[in-house]
């Protein structure tokens, strides 16, 4: 990734404070000032030693210019998207095709945010797309919608009317996933064949755990989701095909995002919180950290890496490369 630039938020589409302008200001003010400053002087007894170091000055000027000021052009830019209460955004693998879901519907940009068009007027809360951006899955108004053709046509999948869904999509877009936010869990097997899975969610004491699971992760493994007992009580298994790229979780939920060979996720199990990526897991022991996450401080604690085996003890197994029974180690 290119070096991040610090910038100010602007309100005009396409406009942002460019570091170049700061450099120009610096060039016309600070550079001449440094260049015009008097030479260095030392007083040694009665001798005044005057040292002129033009080369050193030049180096100082250059160092300030290139190091003390923000880096080159990369900056945040307000897109030309229409004003809307945007709830979710997804992008193609190349980042050029953007798809945003909001209260006014689903909008798409084919040019990295320069221009936008409405694909669907259904208020939507979550959206995901395939790697090429042509296959879209979105949720809204208690239903899940899929489009196989860049939004030209949509198919509605009515699961239940009172659930809020969060969606994810595989890279090829043929295995989208939808998870109910409230009381249910659903897993689709292919586009257009959403199937309700209540066998785990509906069973007595495990209901709450699976609710957490749903809130924490979208997952899929060969159409199988399971748990099994262990020496430390219940262990939850989360796995995914490596070609499944995950969708985000918003608000106080965890986040999973597109990953071809690695998973990046965090989850909530029994009051514990874990964030994992590439076999490295970070555990957080109590809800306080979870609130930290919700206000953005979670990430300052991410250096607290712990091996995967410890994560197993708190009920989450992280797997990759399509090997369900293999434990990843740090």
């Amino acid at each position: 990734m290119a070096r991040m630039s610090r910038c100010a938020l602007t309100t005009q589409p396409g406009a942002a404070v460019q570091p170049h302008s700061l450099r120009a200001l610096y060039a016309v003010t600070a550079v001449p000032a440094i260049a015009a400053c008097p030479p260095l002087q030392w007083v040694l007894g009665s001798q005044v030693m005057k040292i002129r170091l033009p080369a050193l000055r030049i180096l100082i000027v250059m160092a300030f210019y290139f190091c003390a000021l923000p880096g080159p052009a990369q900056t945040w830019t307000q897109t030309g998207a229409p004003a809307d209460t945007w709830r979710s955004i997804a992008c193609s693998a190349n980042g050029i095709r953007l798809i945003a879901a909001g209260d006014e519907g689903i909008c798409e940009s084919l040019d990295g945010g320069l221009t936008w068009l409405f694909l669907n007027s259904t208020p939507s809360g979550s959206v995901a797309c395939s790697a090429d951006g042509t296959k879209i899955i979105a949720s809204g108004s208690g239903a899940v919608y899929t489009s196989p053709d860049s939004g030209a046509t949509w198919q509605q999948h009515g699961l239940t009317s009172d659930d809020q869904y969060y969606v994810a999509s595989s890279a090829e877009g043929t295995n989208p996933v939808a998870a109910g936010f409230r009381w249910d869990f659903r897993l689709n097997l292919s586009v257009g064949q959403f199937r309700k899975r209540m066998d785990h969610a509906g069973r007595s004491g495990k209901f709450l755990d699976w609710q957490h699971l749903v809130r924490g992760c979208l997952f899929r493994r060969r159409h199988q989701i399971g748990d099994r007992g262990g020496s430390h009580g219940r262990k939850r298994f989360i796995s995914s095909r490596p070609d499944l790229h995950f969708g985000r979780f918003r608000r106080n939920m965890d986040a999973i995002r597109r990953s071809e060979q690695c998973l990046v996720f965090s989850s909530v199990f029994g009051g514990r919180h874990e964030a994992c990526d590439r076999g490295v897991c970070r555990c957080f022991a109590d809800w306080r950290h979870w609130f930290d996450l919700s206000i953005g401080r979670f990430w300052s604690h991410l250096d607290q890496r712990q091996p995967i085996d410890q994560l197993l003890d708190v009920g989450c197994l992280f797997l990759r490369r399509n090997t369900f029974d293999r434990r990843e180690s740090v």
Binding site: Q74, G95, R258, I295
Partner: protein
């Protein structure tokens, strides 16, 4: 609160809705080494969603309070193989303007009231919709002396 990752998991972006003090706008965090180190961006906002490209060079976030979408990384509007052709048709008292979606990237619909030099072109603010393979803008009201064109950004 949202997190997104590049395809190899090395580039991460995390956004927050609020700062540590509720009510204060949230921030954006970046990591280029799978979460080992994080950098807080200077940009603040009420961010509720984030997306990132497979290589991690392009990112997008939504601000649920300001109702805006922001991107990081140069937007790309590659020159199409063929320029889009703008078509116009009347549908009742509405003017329908349409062009193909296949080569529409980077083109804005502009209008002018006359072509006398210097012609002043304004962006048509109606958000287009997708109708099959065509991008469509429906215009109503007074349409006298209106000229339209697609302009590449």
């Amino acid at each position: 609160m949202s997190v997104a990752s590049s395809s190899d998991g090395t580039h991460l972006i995390a956004v927050s809705l609020f700062d540590q003090n509720p009510g204060n706008p949230g921030v954006i965090w970046h990591s280029t080494n799978s979460g080992l180190n994080w950098t807080e961006d200077a940009m603040t906002g009420y961010f509720n969603s984030a997306a990132i490209s497979a290589d991690g060079t392009k990112m997008a976030v939504t601000d649920v309070v300001r109702d805006r979408i922001y991107t990081f990384g140069e937007p790309v509007a590659t020159a199409p193989d063929a320029l889009p052709v703008l078509s116009a048709a009347m549908a009742g008292n509405q003017l329908s303007l349409s062009w193909s979606v296949s080569n529409a990237a980077g083109f804005l619909l502009l209008s002018a009231t006359n072509l006398a030099s210097p012609a002043i072109w304004y962006q048509v603010t109606n958000v287009p919709t997708l109708s099959g393979s065509q991008i469509q803008v429906m215009l109503t009201g007074s349409l006298q002396n209106q000229f339209f064109r697609l302009s590449q950004l």
